[in-house]
Amino acid sequence: MLRINNLVKTFDGERRRRHSHAATPEEARVFAVNDVSFNVENGQLFTLLGPSGCGKTTTLRSIAGLERPDSGTIEVGGRVLFSTNEGKKPVNVPANERGLGMVFQSYAIWPHMSVFDNVAFPLQVKKRGDRVSRKEISERVMRVLETMELANFADRQATKLSGGQQQRLALARALVIEPPLLLLDEPLSNLDAKLRESLRYELKRVQRELGITSVYVTHDQVEALALSNSIAVMRNGNVVQLGRPREIYENPNCRFVAEFIGTSNFLSGNVVSKDGDRYTVNTVDGQLVLDSAATLPIGTDVIVSVRPEAVEVSTRSRAGEVPNEWKGTVLTRAYLGDSLDHVVGLGKHELRTRGNPSTSIEPGTTVYLRMDPAKLVLVPVD
């Protein structure tokens, strides 16, 4: 449905040039997007996830046509929107002829128009040939307002809506032309936590019901995990990992992804033996066995990523029965309502664990930590 190949976008690094030793403007150019490629299948919700400045918004704006990439190709449903392929005529369809839907972070609701007019605008400005009748406009606008549960507000001034309603209005406006692709630029970041959660499910419902292919930009990993069919984690203009939410969370391919998505303990160590997929790793605090599909020779330096919820804390030892049992002392604990964290001191390091609030252990107590080999992740050293 959406195909992006070798997208590159640089910004003129004039300011950086003055502070560095780059001699020419070319050397000082900043790569906002550096050779990004991905495909989005029909009806999927694809998320670009990353910290600010990673290039996710620039990628989205390039698809929208609001930013002109330096090179690469962008194709939606077989139609080339942008291309700089050597030998062929360069293509750059202007934003207003791409026919895509977009929801902006600020919603960009036009304050001088009513709710109805905001949604009708995309239909009213259609080219003479495909213009629709006034009656049809009204029908289509009301239909989409109905879907968004905004039909009762049609005549209201757009600025009189609440934050959540404005968000739905922005979505209605983006969907009214029934675009092949919907672009969402951090649409939930302006809302408070409670509303954000309910609108997240609302968004997912609408997307699924309409089966509309969507590209979603966010820096919020929870949002990305909850909404997406697949996620591309971006950093410094590159896609570092691309996969389904579960893959990204359970099998981060580098320390950055493991750190960015959820919380993790990192233990550095060295591969001492290997039997099929089962690795034995020596760390400063003890030995760990774990399963990994990676092919790493004996002696490689690695990092083991341990999710806090993958650690079981207990005051009784089951040494011998299960692998990976370490001994430590509880340093502090924190009650978080739906879970309880213990910070456990090992020889040199501390390990954060997360478990059911019913298990609460007094600081100072000696405890045994057990880690399931299947839940430990081997991350190559960057």
Partner: protein, 575 residues
């Protein structure tokens, strides 16, 4: 605790308790400052009304009858509106187009915008008008000489209402430009981008999104420009009087310069002008207030991609260069050219051969010139210092204190903004002609006039910087045991000083070019630079005048650069 203490000095014990609480340095300073602000704002207006409606025999409408009974008054009002609305529309069209190009497109020569935007500050209206006389007068205009072979003599005539509209409109256009740049910048760019994503063409986006959303700013700009053109004195006096084209300001000046001067009739005209100005300002305030509901949630403010002009880029670039030549280079060049000549003439090989710096050296020998420079400097420094000192306290009252009536201080300090300079001059002469203290005919009356006129600017600077200082800084000083005056002097003043200094320089700059109040208040020996230029123009000493003008522009340019460095809001800021 207070009364029982045996250590209370005898003097204080003699005072009743309430008096002791009230008679602190704080109260004293506040009362004096509030009193001065009220005095400066209200007394001239009171005397203007009084002098217009009352004579030796009591209430009279005689002034009005004489002023508005004149058969030419219809033409005068017509000319005033034609001139004011014409100049406002011209400046709006030019200024808005330039602002849009600068903020939203990839137009070339963006560097020129800054130079053009500070022009009204560094070229005083009187010099600007005279430059245009040099350029487009039917007899001596250089442009006319240039096109004479093609279109015949006297093709351009600056001494018409259209000429007045042209000069005033161009001189005001940078102000509109700055207002509209602010409006375009404060608009969330995604409002336009979302229209683009909806499939609208650039033109549809401009017409259906950009213009409606900036309409409040456009309306406000038009009204402000109409008021400013109505108040303008230089352009109508130098361009209009020649052909008997009168507007309010030039009519007032004419009535006062005839013999015997009819003060009541001039007052009646001034009241009429004042009413028009107040109406304009009131409407623009109403528009400004109703525009608040256009504020929306704003996002992270992604700098919008500047619109690519494509094949129009060179055309727009050319238009900008032409505008730059018309507003900046042309007027400055003609002044410089004239200042080097022995007598005013069209450019020729002889003219260039005869060029010398004689006019500049002559400036040193005209005693008037050195006196005028000294007076301008003294008045500029004096009024800037007084105004900023008063306004530092005034701003504290308005922003921080809970003193009842502090809103009045705010209103009074902004009142002079709606009083045209010429009207203020007339009103002050009403006051001090009757005053037993010999102020009329001295330089002090000019000082009072400047302080009054620039009080609003001073207040704006002081209030802005006061808002930037957290009240906790002040409160922590109080908790540490500092008195009000100690807090003010040791904490607030040092923190305010950058803003106060910027305001100080700004007032110095604008007072340097003041003409419309001074023209009614100066007396021989008290001339300031702008008055001297006006006198020399009337005496036909074009070359010396031009040299004086060049010196003045250079001085102002230096001051403006200093002000800019200090963070004063002059000209265009690139962000």
């Amino acid at each position: 605790m207070i009364t029982a203490s045996p250590t209370v000095p005898a003097r204080e014990r003699a005072m009743p308790g309430w008096l002791r609480r009230v008679a602190t340095p704080k109260t004293l300073i506040i009362v004096v400052v509030a009193g001065l602000i009220g005095y400066l704002a209200l007394v001239p207006l009171y005397y203007l009304i009084w002098g217009t409606f009352f004579d030796a025999n009591g209430f009279t409408m005689g002034g009005f009858a004489r002023a508005y009974g004149d058969p030419r008054v219809g033409g005068m009002i017509g000319n005033s509106l034609w001139f004011a609305i014409g100049a406002a529309v011209l400046s709006l069209a030019v200024g808005t187009a330039l602002a849009y190009l600068n903020v939203r497109t990839d137009v070339p020569f963006k560097g020129l915008f800054f130079a053009a935007s500070i022009i009204p500050l560094i070229i005083p209206g009187i010099l600007y008008t005279i430059s245009w006389i040099f350029l487009a007068s039917p007899d001596i205009g250089l442009l006319n000489k240039l096109i004479e072979p093609v279109l015949g003599p006297g093709f351009f005539d600056v001494f018409t209402v259209w000429g007045m509209v042209w000069v005033e409109g161009l001189h005001l256009s940078p102000i509109v430009f700055l207002l509209m740049v602010a409006a375009f910048r404060s608009m969330d760019p995604s409002l336009e981008e979302s229209a683009l994503m909806s499939g609208a063409s650039r033109w549809q986006v401009f017409r259906r999104i950009t213009v409606p959303l900036t309409r409040p700013a456009i309306v406000a700009a038009v009204l402000i420009m109409v008021v400013r053109s109505l108040e303008s004195f230089e352009v109508p006096a130098l361009l209009g009087l020649q052909n008997g084209i009168y507007v309010f300001t030039s009519r007032i000046y004419f009535v006062l310069r005839s013999y015997p001067p009819d003060l009541a009739a001039a007052g009646a005209l001034a009241v009429g002008l004042l009413v028009l100005a107040v109406i304009g300002v009131a409407i623009s305030n109403l528009v400004g207030r109703s525009s608040k509901n256009y504020q929306t949630v704003t996002g992270k403010g992604f700098r919008p991609r500047p619109m690519e002009l494509g094949k129009w880029r060179p055309v727009m670039g050319g238009a900008i260069v032409v505008y730059f030549f018309l507003t900046v280079v042309g007027p400055l060049l003609v002044l410089l050219y004239t200042s080097l000549l022995k007598f005013y003439q069209a450019p020729s090989t002889e003219a260039f051969a005869s060029m010398s710096l004689d006019n500049y050296s002559e400036l040193f020998h005209i005693s008037d010139a050195t006196t005028a420079l000294k007076n301008s400097l003294l008045l500029g420094v004096g009024s800037a210092t007084l105004v900023m000192a008063l306004m530092a306290v005034g701003a504290w009252m308005v922003v921080r204190s809970r003193i009842p009536g502090r809103q009045l201080v705010d209103y009074f300090s902004f009142t002079p903004l709606v009083v045209p300079g010429l009207v203020l001059g007339l009103a002050l002469s009403f006051v001090y002609l009757r005053s037993p203290v010999p102020i009329y005919g001295t330089i002090f009356i000019l000082l009072i006039a400047y302080c009054t006129r620039y009080m609003p600017y001073g207040m704006r600077y002081a209030v802005t910087s006061m808002h930037q200082i957290s009240s906790e800084l002040e409160e922590s000083a109080q908790v540490s045991g500092a008195s009000w005056w100690q807090t003010f002097r040791r904490v607030l003043l040092p923190l305010l000083s950058p803003g106060l200094l910027a305001g100080w320089i700004y007032i110095l700059v604008v007072s340097f070019r003041e003409l419309s109040s001074s023209i009614l208040l100066y007396s021989p020996g008290n001339e300031v630079l702008s008055i001297l230029i006006f006198e020399q123009y009337e005496n036909g000493q074009f070359t010396v005048l031009a040299a004086l003008g060049v010196v003045m522009v250079l001085t102002l340019a230096v001051l403006v650069v200093i002000a800019y460095k200090l963070g004063a809001k002059v000209g265009l800021r690139q962000d």
